[in-house]
């Protein structure tokens, strides 16, 4: 399947330590262009560390991480749109401010797209972020990140604080707004109801990748959902 499609991400022998603790242990994996990959793992398994390395936020690691054929750096940051686990907007800013900041920062940012998504998700352009609920802040952040025309979206727990109804809405927003040539790596510990959007599932456990497989293949061969398989692997 997809043998001739190039990889957007190529990771070889990636290890990362915090002091003496080994957080990522010799990880190897690729992401093909156009794929939506789910990165699953319990808390502390290494998901966020892996994503931060790909986003260029953690520079000390050993191994080889290439995105769009280049080592992580200025170029890769220009093609990667990263959604951090925690919001980084100043509480006094509004969505309107965020749009102008992103427009300045990223040449690939589509302000019209952001505005229409705000409308779709019923968020005000003028409400201050500090007065928004956690779910609203997460939606806003996701809108900003998905409004870039990036080649790779790194979404770290985009569904953490939102209620199940909004979760569906956010997933639909992701599907609707990603360009089919770009790729998404989405980390989450909520698997059920989310797995419908993935091509592939990657399970990370204690810093190792313990599974990297097409969702269809998992269902075909094991006759089980990713959610059930996850519970087996992590019990």
């Amino acid at each position: 399947m997809n043998n001739n499609i190039p990889n957007i991400v190529e990771i070889k022998n990636l290890s990362k330590n915090y002091n003496k603790k080994e957080v990522l242990k010799n990880i190897n994996f690729n992401i093909t262009e156009g794929q939506i990959v789910g990165l699953f793992g319990t808390n502390g398994s290494g998901k966020t560390t892996l994503i931060k390395i790909m986003a260029g936020l953690l520079k000390e690691y050993s191994g080889d991480v290439k995105i769009g054929g280049e080592n992580v750096g200025v170029y890769t940051k220009s093609i990667v749109s990263y959604l951090p686990e925690k919001t980084y907007f100043n509480k006094n800013t509004t969505a309107e401010d965020a749009i102008s900041i992103f427009s300045d920062f990223y040449t690939d940012f589509n302000a019209d797209k952001a505005k229409s998504m705000l409308k779709e998700l019923s968020l005000s352009e003028t409400q201050r972020i500090g007065t928004m609920s956690k779910g609203m802040q997460e939606k806003l952040q996701l809108i900003m990140v998905m409004s870039r025309e990036a080649r790779l979206y790194l979404l770290d727990e985009p569904l953490g604080g939102v209620d199940p109804a909004s979760r569906d809405y956010i997933l639909d927003t992701i599907i609707k707004n990603y360009n089919e040539k770009s790729s998404i790596l989405l980390s989450t510990h909520l698997i059920h109801d989310v797995e419908r959007i993935f091509d592939k599932a990657v399970f990370i456990k204690d810093g190792n990748i313990v599974l990297n497989e097409y969702v269809d293949v998992i269902r075909d061969e094991k006759g089980t959902s990713i959610d059930k398989l996850f519970r087996e692997v992590y019990k």
Binding site: D172, I175, E180, R196, I197, D199, D216, R219, T224, K228
Partner: protein, 120 residues
């Protein structure tokens, strides 16, 4: 649409489209929505729809026109065959269940004939 946990999603989407074909919601020669539209409608990854379409093409239920999109087959025979296959699959499931609860084939047929089906 609520997906079954144990079956690949592309197969579930194929089944849904097949159902639309045999029930007449989609007619011979009808144009199918685009991959993107269906991905949004079903809330799944576009690659999943792509896969479902390719498989439907392989089964000759759908054909692609290079520029204008995908259409339901014009061959009524193929659709009749599909209807037949779906019916047989369902009957086999039903028979297996009836045998499980202790009915012989003859009794099953008798049961179908004599059953009071109420509002049906």
């Amino acid at each position: 649409m609520k997906f079954d946990d144990n079956l690949p999603i592309y197969i579930q989407i194929m089944n849904e489209i097949k159902l639309m074909i045999v029930s007449g919601k989609l007619n011979t020669g009808d144009k199918l929505p685009s991959v993107r539209e269906l991905a949004q409608e079903f809330g799944v990854n576009p690659n999943t729809i792509q896969r479902a379409f390719s498989e439907l093409e392989r089964e000759n239920l759908v054909f692609a026109e290079r520029t204008s999109g995908r259409y339901i087959t014009n061959d009524g025979g193929i659709i009749m065959e599909l209807k037949n296959n779906l019916a047989e699959e369902e009957i086999i499931k039903f028979l297996n269940y009836m045998k499980k609860i202790g009915f012989e084939e003859k009794e099953i047929i008798e049961k179908i004939k004599t059953m009071n089906r109420g509002e049906q």
